[in-house]
């Protein structure tokens, strides 16, 4: 459910909404993870991820095996050495928010909503949103979304800088193309400056959250 194009130095990954039962399932995650690895090898200047509709809305509860695959994927996405622009266009919840936050610039359509999901489902434990949200915006927002299950509309998300800009996929493409014209060394240096000593803390946090997810999942059964 993914298509890929390479144009004008931008490696575009389109994530197509597979529909409610399959969104953020283990197959979808592994397919996306493979495309991240391809993007890394492609060595394009910029990666653009276009998320169709509610493709990044998690279907609670997320099985432990999917969480493991998700966490691998998030680390690979976060570690890409080129800028990643993502366009969001629907519900972005739980691990989907983690994937969005692992990107560098988030452009969201006017219908986009973001959240960590229902606390009863503990979806905030899946996908690294805890660490990434705290790192990107702050612990107060993370804890508010986690405990209340509130979903933010795009204007509120933009006010919190959860999204960089409100716009359509053309706007996100324009961002990506603008970046692709920068010298590769500049892009690399800027990206590396945002990733100083974070790989290990992120991995530690993902492993711990995954273990907490197992605890919750076991208790449910």
């Amino acid at each position: 459910m993914i298509t890929v194009t390479d144009t004008n130095g931008v490696h575009t990954i389109r994530v197509i909404d597979p529909g409610a039962p399959h969104r953020m399932g283990v197959e979808a995650v592994r397919e996306f993870d493979n495309e991240i690895k391809v993007a890394r090898r492609a060595q394009s200047s910029v990666v653009l991820i276009s998320v169709q509709s509610d493709a990044w809305a998690t279907s609670a509860p997320t099985p432990d095996s999917t969480v493991a695959a998700l966490h691998q994927c998030i680390q690979h996405l976060y570690a890409l050495d080129t800028p990643v622009v993502v366009h969001l266009d629907g519900q972005v919840t739980g691990a989907g928010l983690g994937l969005a936050l692992a990107s560098d610039l988030r452009v969201a359509s006017s219908r986009t909503t973001v959240g960590l999901g229902d606390p009863a489902e503990a979806e905030g434990l899946a996908g690294g949103a805890a660490w990434l949200l705290r790192d990107r915006v702050g612990s107060a927002l993370h804890e508010h979304l986690m405990w209340t299950g509130e979903t933010l509309d795009v204007s509120t998300a933009h006010a919190f800088r959860l999204v960089s800009a409100i716009g359509d996929v053309g706007d996100a493409t324009a961002h990506a193309e603008r970046l692709s014209h920068l010298p590769p060394t500049t892009l690399s240096a800027l990206k590396r400056s945002t990733r100083v000593d974070v790989a290990e803390p992120l991995r530690t946090r993902l492993n711990y959250d995954q273990a907490l997810h197992v605890v919750v999942d076991t208790d449910r059964k």
Partner: protein, 271 residues
């Protein structure tokens, strides 16, 4: 991980250029491992090149420090598996390659390792034998020997324990875990993490700073630091004191004190 040949019975032809390139930067010798086709696997040829380079540096009074590197993309990926696969225990214990390790660890002048990319197995052990490690932001360090059914044989178990503590060492030596440059920095192994493009340059700067110090003091200071890994505190303090006593008889020590009191830069001549 060490790089296996696609055909273990047919070694690749060696390039014409030496396995270890030697360059001089003022008082610093830079030894660059130059076998990118094999990811700088530590073949007998490479290790012999390092030994020869260090021997020349040791005998040259103008050389006061050494930089060991593989360039900005990788350091050394470990043992050459083609050589390691068939070797018997007896041959291993008598092999030429074993002479490289004491030559590196026993080198009396300061060595700065400029590491980048894969710094694994024997490559990591070489780095740990040096006095300072400058790591590129793309460096990954580790001892993956356990994944091959063996263990480090050139100091990995001993040096990781001493520099990072037994528990962190177990994660690396027994678990085969690798660490990135920043983690190595936090473990205290790496003194500085720099952009890969600058790792050799920064290592040369660091070595040049070391080269401005009294070469005799540097040698005796290094001996005292190494001794701290071998002997107890009381004996170590005695050794340190004896090294200092020797230095008090040198012209360099008078020059150093005179320069400090005269608010000028000292010029040490190694006498």
């Amino acid at each position: 991980m060490p790089t296996p040949s696609t055909n273990p019975s047919r070694p690749e032809p060696l390039p014409d250029r030496p396995a270890v390139r030697v360059d001089l930067h003022g008082h610093v010798t830079v030894l660059t491992i130059d076998r990118p086709a094999t990811r700088n696997a530590l073949s007998t040829e490479v290790l012999s090149g390092l030994v020869a380079g260090l021997k020349d540096a040791s005998q040259d009074p103008d050389v006061r420090a050494v930089v060991l590197t593989g360039g900005p993309h990788l350091f050394a990926s470990g043992a050459d598996l083609r050589e390691l696969r068939e070797i018997s225990p007896a041959d291993y214990l008598q092999s030429e390659r074993l002479k490289a390790w004491p030559a590196i660890a026993g080198f009396k002048k300061p060595i700065v390792a400029a590491v980048a990319g894969y710094v694994l197995g024997g490559g990591c052990e070489i780095a740990l034998s040096c006095d300072l490690i400058i790591a590129a932001d793309n460096a990954t360090l580790g001892q993956p020997e356990i994944n091959l059914g063996i263990i480090p044989g050139a100091g990995g178990t001993q040096r990781w324990s001493r520099v990072a503590g037994r528990f962190a060492a177990a994660d690396i030596v027994l678990g085969g875990r690798t660490v990135d440059a920043w983690t190595a920095r936090r473990l205290g192994i790496v003194s500085e993490v720099v952009p890969a493009e600058l790792v050799v340059e920064r290592a040369i700067e660091a070595a040049t700073r070391l080269a401005t110090k009294s070469p005799i003091a540097a040698r005796l200071g290094k001996a005292a630091l190494r001794a701290s890994e071998e002997i107890g505190v009381t004996a170590g303090l005695d050794f340190e004191r004896s090294q200092l006593a020797v230095l008090l008889s040198t012209q360099d020590h008078r020059e150093g004190i005179d320069a400090f009191l005269g608010k000028r830069i000292a010029h040490f001549e190694g006498r």
